[in-house]
Amino acid sequence: MKLAGFLLLLAGWVIVVAAVILLVPVNARTIFVLAGVAVEIVGLTLVIRSNPLAVSEKE
């Protein structure tokens, strides 16, 4: 799960970079940057939850 989380982190960052480089309209770029950040948050959540001492794991 940790590896999947890190891969999602990288994927989210790639989405952000692609949005910055390829998209010109401000609204579209903003939406895709925020989408990339959302993917990163999902990835970070997976990485955190993979820690055996995290609360959800204890429960």
């Binding site: 982190l9 960052w13 952000v16 903003t30 001492l53 995290a54 609360v55």
Partner: protein, 444 residues
């Protein structure tokens, strides 16, 4: 470019203050750790700084570069994107005659030392000295210069204003993201890799309090840190964002107010929650305020600095508990809360509070400059934060994960029980005092 003589003198004085950040943080880390590893903690601080400065001079600054210096670029969507410096190793060819780049190299030696020291706060009492040095070499030689080039060296994050009409590009005057978030995220990666100190968590996963051994060291370290931060923020703002030297008064006021508001917030919150203020959390709050002030210090008014500091203090106070209790991350020095979260908040605060009355130093090549607008600044800061979380964190975790396979980073259980002072150094910091009371039977 050659700087005016008055500015040279000013920058020299400011950079000479910067090492106090390292001294302050070293004392804070040592005080928050256990007495049985106190000497090891301070020796590690010195060795980490030594390795960081050496490696950075060898190859780090070559890859970080400076605005307008040679760099590796690629073309995408019809625009040129700068991704890595292309300078000579060992500072060869650098003219030490009052040029801005020479002062930037000098300041960066202290900046990278500070960034490399941050992970020690999360790895206290269990990080081998040799492994700490090896990990520092990776941070100072690659991770830090890479991101610092993107923000301070004219790289693609700094170019967002020119290439993508995102305000002035990423603004980070004193290094909230470049120094502190990079260091704090490395601390997070290492805390995961090393695991918690033995005895920190019960079999049911409940944390046990392991308080710091010397509150005086911690609090005195806070005073020294303020001195250093005044120099670091001011020099960084002048050299990396083109702030006018006259802004030093504003920068110093903002830095001080942010730290003051942060510690008062931490004192009040812990006082209300626990009945008495907590020394270690309050000290971490102070440093959190300093960290959060760094990015925006030259471009906000004092009232905003108070708000930024207060938010940082509250953030540090609650996140320290959250990391320990809910995420199962043992961070004795509060490095992750203070530097990673504080640094990210500092970058975000630029988007919320900063205003730019004069054009900043934005080099668009061929000797030209562009006057940037403030529109899109928030998105630029968000892209920087996304890069820290989505790229820097996986990068630093991956590097240290591989390093751990080659060179184990955590000391063996016996070493942790004895204390790193005895196990790795052969002598304790406090030989006249009993630090292992559980080993002694009844006294005659």
């Amino acid at each position: 470019m050659l700087l005016p003589i008055t500015e040279i003198v000013l920058i020299i004085v400011l950079i000479l203050l910067a090492p106090f950040t390292i001294a302050g943080l070293s004392l804070i880390n040592t005080g928050l750790g256990r007495s049985r590893s106190a000497a090891h903690s301070l020796l590690s601080s010195l060795c980490i700084f030594a390795v960081a400065s050496g490696v950075y001079v060898i190859c780090g600054f070559a890859w970080q570069g400076y605005i307008g210096a040679p760099a590796h670029t690629f073309v995408a969507a019809g625009r040129q994107w700068n991704w890595l410096g292309r300078g000579p190793f060992l500072l060869r060819g650098l003219e030490f005659n009052g040029t801005a780049i020479s002062f930037a190299a000098w300041l960066q030696i202290f900046s990278v030392g500070l960034a490399a020291l941050i992970p020690l706060g999360a790895c206290l009492d269990r990080w081998r000295l040799s492994a700490a040095c090896a990990s520092t070499a990776l941070l100072a030689g690659w991770t830090y210069p890479l991101f610092a080039h993107w923000v301070w060296g004219g790289g693609w994050l700094a170019q967002l204003g020119i290439n993508a009409s995102m305000g002035h590009g990423v603004i980070d005057a004193g290094g909230s993201g470049t120094i502190h978030a990079v260091g704090g995220l490395t601390a997070l990666a290492l805390a995961w890799i090393l695991g918690p100190r033995s005895g920190k968590y019960s079999l049911e996963g409940m944390p046990t309090a392991i308080p710091g051994h010397n509150a005086v060291l911690v609090l005195f370290g806070c005073f020294l840190s303020l001195l250093g931060w005044l120099g670091l923020n001011s020099a960084g703002a002048i050299l990396f964002t083109g702030a006018a030297p006259g802004r030093i008064a504003l920068i110093s006021i903002n830095t001080t107010l942010s730290a003051a508001a942060a510690i008062l917030a931490a004192v009040v919150i812990t006082g209300v929650r626990f009945g008495r203020p907590d020394v270690s959390i309050s000290a971490n709050g102070w440093v959190g305020g300093l960290v959060a002030s760094s990015a925006s210090c030259a471009f906000i008014n004092p009232a905003a600095a108070i708000v930024i500091g207060a938010v940082a203090g509250a953030l540090v106070t609650y996140s320290v508990e959250w990391f320990e209790l809910h995420l199962g991350i043992d961070d004795p020095g509060g490095a992750i809360s203070v530097h990673a979260l504080g640094g990210i908040w500092g970058l975000l605060a630029v988007a919320i509070f900063a205003s730019f009355p004069v054009p900043l130093l934005i080099d668009i090549g061929a000797g030209g400059f562009k006057v940037a607008s403030d529109t899109g600044q928030a998105l630029a800061q968000i892209v920087a934060i996304a890069t820290l979380i989505g790229f820097v964190l996986p990068l630093t975790y991956g590097l240290n994960f591989v390093l751990n396979r080659i060179w184990p980073q955590r000391v063996v259980m016996e070493g942790e029980r004895q204390g790193l002072d005895l196990y790795e150094l052969g002598g304790g910091a406090y030989p006249d005092f009993v630090t292992h009371s559980e080993e002694f039977g009844q006294f005659r």
